[in-house]
Symmetry: C2
Subunit: 463 residues, 2 copies
């Protein structure tokens, strides 16, 4: 029996405890966007630090200008074993609208589903649940062997959901401590519940808040209507032009650098048999809304987007209020593909807005985060080891997929530390990430934990 | 000394008490739009009823399907004295955004201003303050003479700020009790603080809430962006087309029935010397935003509008949330001019929206109120008496103006009871009606009270 097999057996024996540690972490409402949860963010960081310290890591909670970073080191066995940097994040998205949750978002709720037990909670999967898979794999190796088969740096940040603004400076300031051979990140999804996947491309993101101010006070729409600038009319007039009738985004120079996918890529994605009608049908929609002349996976993985994530202004209570508001605002995000320059997109959006509002409309922009899209080479030994570990665990090959989401840290780790990233993740499309009733299947958690245990053995030279 | 002169002297003697009754009424937060204030609305109605009962009226609080109506009758002296119906409303607009108030909205705050004392409170002018002017005039006549010089019906509703939905059925159901010779309404403004005015036209209104529903839950903008319908994008895309670049409203058949103003009217309004740059400068704006090819007063009094009064959807908290919301909504109101059919405008707006959203966008419309625009003949004996009363009080002629606001009840009283309406009001443009820090000048309140006392004397045959 190989060491890996013994570790896998130990995971099964201790599985309830692994699950318990994951659930305890979920109880901490570490919402990074909301200042009133700053102490909770720190508590979630401390929780992870303690986990790592318990299994032989030198583990610290390190300060940044925002929420802290957890940084932990384990020397591994020495010798030829590679040095792996695991990245995760302990922060979560805001839970609102709270009234749509079937159970409180920070009281993990276990229910029976079509694939066995599942856990409902904010962060169940993104990214506490996923991070708990590799934390658990470390622990299983430590419990079985008293050490770890590779040298490991574990790094968990607390601002992934707010654009990782302070993470990049932290990485730059600590380059030497963060040196490694490869980065391993578990914040992505499977192809389906039976088919493991490695993500080989990520979309980047630019997230901008725009505030539009008009009169110096709210106005009566009867006394001023027809003469006074209405900021909501002006804001919708501008934002309503973000896309043309074919779904093409109208921000100046937006498509500069965007490349069509290769025939090889198109063929590979076609072979996955993606059913966009079913994908949309599952969420109550019947037809795609993006660029009309593109394929389903292409729209999701290889084309940039412009989504208004929030809008506000004037009266939204019951009944009527005949007011012309003094101001209105919106949050707009752009998912970017490799080749697009995030700074140019942010600048282009400002130009787009300025060109479409009247002179009296005072515009203010807040850029919350910028990250470029990224493609990851598939031929490294780490990628191959991850693919084999997943294939061994699931009994079928891992598929190479794109990811529509943005993990700006992948770009940071790549550019600042020179690391390639292996993105293996265990989420499903219906996990309701960022939505009410976020969940993670317990079977996905278990396979994730076991897959990471296998990967550690494989990279550590275990046969 | 005429009876009117004695009444005017008594007003001065008892002025503090008149003011106190007005302030006490303002302390009741009778916000008709918000269900949690239903009991306050009833309390404000009861307050008015008591006032009227104290001065010889047979006064009742009468039920409707919504907030109640106050109906009170005084027989007057009999003989040839006319029968006047006074209309007012005891309900007020919501007070939010509360943080912009310099003093609590329902704790009347008296401060020194450029025109003497002024009172800050929600409803200070609209319409408790204005209604208190004629309630005070009744009281002064009663105190001085033991009766009233005309037969009077007093009618105060509690849903003017939410579209008077239940007022019209009430009027229709009580036509006989509401018979009168003329309606007198004080809910409009002066030309400026020295120049009294009678309003001879009102804009009507259609107020519609539109809700747009897309996916059956909130979505992650990375996983779904580019494929899933974004309801905020779709809503802004449609609403952003409400007006073309010249400010023309694009709702189908919207301008049917809209007439250009006559040369006589244009000349009369030109003679008022309206300074639109100053009007807008006072609220921090520099240029008009409505139809480009129209004059200043024409845009405010004789042209229809389309204003978005509120919009909401997705995340509006601090920082970022990369969500594609499940739904979004907006409140949109149209001010109408005589000749436009409110029902056709409401229907046209629905068509406008349906034609501009994708098939998956489920639209729901709630029409909160519809009222046509109205013109009032200026040659009746009641209009002439009102003009004389104002001229006597202010020492200069009253000007005949338009009103950009909507008082749907004017149309109801006109069509259901066959009454012409005399609209004399004492508000100023800077009263911040419907805004934070609504105020009423005490001098306007005093002149209003005195003007109503004069009008009662004049119509009652006092010399």
């Amino acid at each position: 029996m190989s060491a890996t097999e013994k570790v896998l057996a130990r995971i099964e024996t201790n599985f309830d405890k692994h699950q318990q540690r994951w659930l305890d972490w979920l109880r901490i409402p570490s919402i990074s966007a909301q200042p009133q949860h700053a102490a909770d963010c720190r508590a979630a960081a401390e929780y992870a630090r303690t986990q790592l310290a318990e299994i032989g890591f030198t583990a610290e909670v390190r300060e940044t200008a925002g929420h802290p970073v957890v940084l932990a080191q384990h020397p591994g066995p020495g010798g030829a074993a590679p040095h792996l940097l695991y990245y995760g994040h302990y922060d979560v998205q805001p839970a609102d609208p709270l009234e749509l949750w079937k159970s409180p978002p920070f009281e993990p709720h276990i229910v029976d589903g079509p694939h066995g037990k599942r856990v409902y909670a904010r962060g169940a999967v993104d990214d506490k649940g996923q991070s708990a898979t590799w934390l658990g794999a470390f622990r299983a190796w430590y419990e079985e062997t008293g050490g770890l088969p590779c040298r490991i740096t574990a790094l968990l940040e607390g601002e992934e959901e707010t654009g990782s603004i302070n993470f990049k400076p932290f990485v730059i300031a600590n380059k030497r401590e963060l040196a490694a051979d490869v980065a391993i990140i578990t914040d992505t999804g499977m192809w389906d519940i039976d088919t493991p996947a490695i993500s080989t491309s990520l979309r980047g993101m630019v997230y901008v808040q725009v505030d539009l101010k008009a009169a110096n006070r709210d106005l009566h729409s009867g006394m001023y209507g027809g003469s006074a600038l209405n900021p909501i009319n002006a804001l919708t007039h501008a934002l309503g032009q973000l896309k043309d009738e074919r779904g093409r985004i109208q921000v100046p120079r937006f498509y500069e650098g965007v490349k069509d996918i290769s025939t090889r890529q198109a063929n590979q994605w076609a072979s996955l048999g993606f059913d966009e009608r079913k994908f949309l049908g599952d969420i109550g929609l019947s037809e795609p809304y993006g660029e009309k002349e593109r394929g389903g996976l292409e729209r999701l993985w290889a084309r940039p987007t412009a989504d208004i994530n929030g809008i506000w202004g004037g009266y939204s209570g019951p009944g009527t209020k005949t007011v012309i508001a003094a101001q209105a605002g919106a949050k707009v995000s752009f998912r970017l593909v490799p080749g697009q320059d995030p700074k140019q997109v942010a600048e282009g959006f400002k130009q787009f807005m300025r060109a479409r509002v009247p002179a009296d409309a005072k515009l203010e922009f807040t850029v919350f985060g910028e990250g470029a899209g990224l493609e990851i080479p598939t031929d490294s030994r780490f990628m191959q080891a991850a693919a084999t570990a997943l294939a061994d665990e699931y009994g079928r090959p891992a598929v190479m997929i794109g990811c529509g989401g943005s993990i700006p840290v992948v770009e940071t780790l790549h550019h600042e530390l020179g690391l390639d990233c292996v993105l293996l993740g265990f989420g499903l499309d219906d996990d309701q990430v960022h939505s009410p009733n976020e969940k993670f299947e317990v079977t996905c958690f278990r396979h994730g934990l076991r897959s990471h245990a296998r990967l550690l053995g494989k990279l550590g030279g275990d046969r």
